[in-house]
C-alpha cells in the first residue's frame, strides 16, 4: 500500500485513489495525419521504466481531484507531486531522460 501525498488532502492511503496511468501523453494535434501504427502507439504503447515514472492519480474517495506524481518504480518511493498541466520537476526529467525512461 502506498501513502500518497494528495496536494489538497495531505498523505492518504492508496485505496482512496485511482491511478490514471502514464502522464504527459499528448493527443496528436492532427489525428487524420497519423498512420495506423502511429495511432496505435498513441493509444496503447506505454513506458515501463525501471526508475522514475510520471503518472496521473485521481483522489476518488477524497477531494476528487487529479494530479501528477513522480514515482521511482524500483522502491515505490514517491519523488514529487505536481499539478495537472505542469511539467515534471526539471531534475527528475533529466534523470528520466538519462535512463531513457521517456
Amino acid at each position: 500500500m502506498l501513502r500518497i501525498p494528495c496536494p489538497f488532502c495531505g498523505p492518504r492511503a492508496e485505496i482512496e485513489f485511482r491511478c490514471g496511468g502514464e502522464a504527459h501523453i499528448r493527443r496528436p494535434a492532427d489525428p487524420d495525419a497519423l498512420s495506423d501504427a502511429e495511432w496505435a502507439d498513441y493509444l496503447f504503447m506505454r513506458g515501463n521504466p525501471k526508475g522514475v515514472h510520471f503518472e496521473r492519480w485521481f483522489h476518488a474517495h477524497g477531494c476528487q481531484r487529479w494530479f501528477n506524481l513522480a514515482r521511482d518504480t524500483v522502491g515505490d518511493r514517491i519523488l514529487a507531486v505536481y499539478a495537472m498541466g505542469a511539467e515534471p520537476p526539471a531534475g527528475l526529467r533529466r534523470e528520466a531522460e538519462v535512463r531513457g525512461d521517456d
Binding site: F8, A13, E16, H61, G62, C63, Q64
Partner: protein, 198 residues
C-alpha cells in the same frame, strides 16, 4: 389526502454497545433529516456566498466552517457540503442564488441522497478505524476535520464533531451496509442494547 411522510433511510435507529449499560463504549444512531447542499464554486464566489450565509468561506482544507445557521465542510479546493438542521433547503438555495449572481456556481440539494449516522463514545475512533483508512489521531484529524473517505467498501463523508464524536454521511443505498459494518466493529466493545428514542 394524507400528508407525505419523510422517512430516513435507517428509520432513526439507535443502539449502544458496552460491558456496562451505564457507560456505553460506543453509540450508533441515525440522525434525522437535515439540509445538505453540495456547493461547487471558485474561492471568490464561495467568499461571496459565505457572506450571504454568515460563513467565513472558503475556509481551510478539510475543515468545517461553522456559522449561525449553516456548517460548511470544505471537501475539495472548490467543493463544500453545507449542513443545517432545518430540513428545508430552499432558504439556503435562495441565499446562494442571490450571492452567486454572475458567477459560475453549482448548488444542489442532496438532502435525500444521504443517511447520516452519528458514532460517539470513548471507543468511537477505534470502531471507525476498523474500516476507515484515515489517520484518526487528533493531530491529523482534530475536531472540525471533514473529508470524503472510505468505510469498508463504501464511500463516506466523515466529520469529526468532537474527540469521540463523529458524523458520517453515506449514500442512502449504502446506509444499511455502513450501519452493519459499524455494528460488527462495535461488537468488540460489548453487547448491543437498543435505545428507545423520543
Amino acid at each position: 389526502m394524507s400528508e407525505p411522510v419523510l422517512r430516513t433511510p435507517l428509520g432513526l435507529r439507535a443502539v449502544v454497545f458496552g460491558r456496562r449499560p451505564s457507560a456505553p463504549a460506543v453509540r450508533l444512531e441515525e440522525a434525522p433529516a437535515a439540509v445538505r447542499v453540495g456547493l461547487r464554486a471558485s474561492a471568490e464566489d464561495a467568499a461571496r456566498i459565505g457572506v450571504a450565509l454568515g460563513l467565513d468561506l472558503p475556509g481551510p482544507p478539510l475543515r468545517a466552517v461553522t456559522g449561525e445557521l449553516v456548517v460548511a465542510l470544505r471537501l475539495g479546493p472548490e467543493e463544500w457540503l453545507l449542513l443545517a438542521a432545518d430540513p428545508d433547503p430552499r432558504p439556503i438555495l435562495a441565499a446562494i442564488a442571490g450571492a452567486a449572481e454572475g458567477g459560475h456556481v453549482a448548488a444542489v440539494d442532496l438532502g435525500h441522497r444521504f443517511a447520516e449516522i452519528l458514532v460517539s463514545g470513548p471507543a468511537a475512533p477505534e470502531v471507525l478505524a476498523a474500516g476507515c483508512p484515515l489517520d484518526l489521531d487528533p493531530r491529523f484529524a482534530p475536531p472540525g476535520f471533514a473529508s470524503r473517505t472510505l468505510l469498508g467498501k463504501c464511500e463516506i463523508l466523515l466529520h469529526r464533531l468532537g474527540e469521540n464524536r463523529f458524523r458520517l454521511l453515506v449514500n442512502r443505498s449504502f446506509a444499511e451496509y455502513c450501519w452493519r459494518f459499524l455494528e460488527h466493529a462495535a461488537l468488540e466493545f460489548g453487547t448491543p442494547a437498543p435505545v428507545t428514542r423520543s
